[in-house]
Amino acid sequence: MTAEATTEAPREPEQKPAERETLLTAFQRNLWASNGVTVTTLSIFLAVVIGAVLIVLSDSAVLAKFAYFTARPGDALGSSWDLISAAYSDLLKGAFGDPEAISAWFSGTGSWQDALGPISETLTYAAPLVFTGLSVALAFRGGLFNIGAQGQAVLGAVTAGVAGFSFGLPIGLNLVIALIVGALGGALWGFLPGLLKARTGAHEVITTIMLNYTAALFLSWLVIQQGIQQPGRSDAISKAVDSSAQLPSFGGALRVHLGIVIAVLVTAGVAWLLNRSAFGFELRAVGANPHAARTAGISVAKTYALLMAVAGGLAGLGGATQVLGTAHALTPAVAGNIGFDGLLVALLGRNRPWGTLFAALLFGALRAGGNRMQSYSGISLELVTVLQALIVIFIAAPALVKAIFRLRTARAAGQSASPAKG
């Protein structure tokens, strides 16, 4: 049949290699095809290359050597290379551990805290990003652009923090309650724009941005109120969270806490929700084609409202992790930038739960490594932000990456890109 001829051509070879194909040939064929993994890897690579250029440009001593580049190119290139390699090796050491410290730990001359410190930092930075990233990714799968993860995280931090120092429940229970209350706070902040969208069609981007401001200003106001503010302090800081409500850390000296474990569990939960649950089916259907979903009897409005509440709850957990795990008290900046970083993390993770987890780990690693790079190589922490931004830009513009590396267009994409119809 003719129909057969057309249906056989556009396949997704990168995902489902035909059975007769060996794993190896499939791997080779897809290595330079423009699939998600290749593009992501190359995006990171490109960002690192451009980052290297920026490192050189920002160092006046090295730049001076370029002035006599034609006379002695070795000088300029050599010192550039030294600078770049020092910077990036500090980045890696700060993110994953210094080989010297690790071997010192094995030989008994160094402490395990020094060896594992970098990993601990990476995981500490990554944990809240996992939650906010999942929040954005999940909403996106349902066709909603949750710019409001920041505000939801702030509200999650507020409710979790207040619960953390108010209830005084026994150990264990206090933490669980604080986490739940944090998630509920975020869920409320997500449900509002979801409801507005469902009922009135108000665009979630606008409403969530406004709620971000509201949440941030509410937090600034709240922390200086009596009963919330730390007694005896005049600056904007709340009472400390009871130790029974803090996320326990592994071994006193390291900052890493239970949050990262919860993050992995929640990632698994979101993956299940998305792919195996009835609600996940609804939200994916609504996200991909709301008209068909409605025609099939799925209530689009209900899905939007519920989805935003769940997404808000995830972001709220992110804020809760921040206050219960790292900060231990509310300050106006307690949630930092985790909500907005969550947008980037979700984009980098291609809105897939496990992808988001890895993206959050990468961002955490960059942040932790950036700290070391700043103090050892004297390279501004902002470079890390630039790297993060570059990675995301390249991922957002896959055509650019494909053009630079001349990737073969995947067969499925090639078919749909051609104007041929029949």
Binding site: T2, A292, T295, K421
Partner: protein, 555 residues
Amino acid sequence: MAERRLALDPLHQVQHRSREIPLKLELRGITKRFGDLVANDHIDITVEPGEVHALLGENGAGKSTLMNQLYGLLQPDEGQIVVNDEPKVFRSPRDAIASGIGMVHQHFMLVPVFTVAENIALGAENVRGGPLGWLDRRRARREVIETSKRFGLPVDPDALIEDLPVGAQQRVEIVKALTRDVDLLILDEPTAVLTPQETDELLAVMRSLTEMGKSIVFITHKLKEVKKIADRITVIRRGQVVGTASPDTSEDELAALMVGRAVSLEVDKTPAEPGRAVLQVKGLIVDDDRGIRAVDGVDLEVRAGEVLGIAGVQGNGQTELVEAVMGLREVRAGTVELDSENLAGLSTKRILRSGVGYVPEDRSHDGVVKEFSVAENLILDMYDSTPFGNAIRLDTSRIASNAKERVAQFDIRCQSADTAVGTLSGGNQQKVVIAREMSRPLKLFIASQPTRGVDVGSIEFIHGQIVHERDQGTAVLVVSSELDEVVNLADRIAVMYRGRILAIVSPDTPREAIGLLMAGVTSEPAAVAPVEEDAPVEEAAAEEEAGGAGEEGTK
């Protein structure tokens, strides 16, 4: 571009009119591959000057790929395009137009918020005062009027495209091609979006263009039109020319050539045995998206074991009627009862679960989620009920085994049930929708445009399934703007016009009579719309028929 603009200059007009060199086109051994798929396999076609050359083939046979190469949108891997014995290479549509080849796409390439004249000028704008100068709108207008007069294609140069009906938009596309001074016009599935009347008008236009020495390549899969208009027919199947035919070839033979096996164009069915009234619609009033009354007091009854067909030109309220029954559109007044249970106000989910199957008219918009797999689409409206899952979780193994069953039972051609539906051909996508809606016990089955954009082979199958459903005692409501389909499938035909059921007639009613009803012509002479001048007798007969039937419809 410069010479072409010159050619349109009034000064050069005389010269350009005398340039009536008829264009002879030859395609020699054209081959185009997409990966492993050979879309065109050594295709040879010759288009003589002044002929309508029909290119007949199913969806996905490679017709459009071939034409896109001819129009410079794609480059052939092998083979030659020869215009007037001169081999040509077309790198872009510009090259093709310069050689006198124009194309009207199936999906119009018009800017909705621009006027007709602006759209026609677009891409070949007359600019005064250099590249950053101003547009010469007056000249653009003049050219449009001139071309439309010369070829007898009335278009209003100042109308906005978005205000024009589809038929008029298509005329704009044709005028646009003709102002580019082309001698060969490719029409890609031009009738797919047209009403029967508009189709007739288009065929007349095509005839008059060929009389003026233009040649036309007419891409279609509709056999009736091919027989009516074509001088020569080339049939393409799976990227190869499988035969040429003359217009005298019978429809059955043409269909067999197209599909590669004998197909029956008639629907095999026994007389209906109507039972109880399953769906009862009384005094239904529904508004469309703009708040304008679309369904204006419709009374209908669909009985168990019969097919009620709703015939009518698209846009006469059929869509809104069906959506109101399905709970997708608010019922302003009136009742919709399924086995005496009022459906008005219930959610779509409740209506689907109470034993209604629904095939929406716009498959890719409302019928399938293209990103979803075949398996997921097969349970799109049953995902949270047994056996596929519950309110919490999905049963993936049941979903997979269901998919396997349905794919086999409904002959859905796909690599596997995990393939995204968007990669399937139109016919197979439609089979997915039909399989989904028929895979549970039904009281009522509603199919809107069940075979739109579906290839001949699948049409036969889908019609068979609908009749099968009827024979199991389901009440079936079929809405189609293709009169043939309604006549073939229905046991009773309701003709809808401007939101009302004008008449309910038997499928044996002469087609002309139904056609007149579709145009709103009933027994009242005042309401008679302009009809073809050659049919006074038929008109009288139709009036009689419609009058009698009209009574039946309103009682």
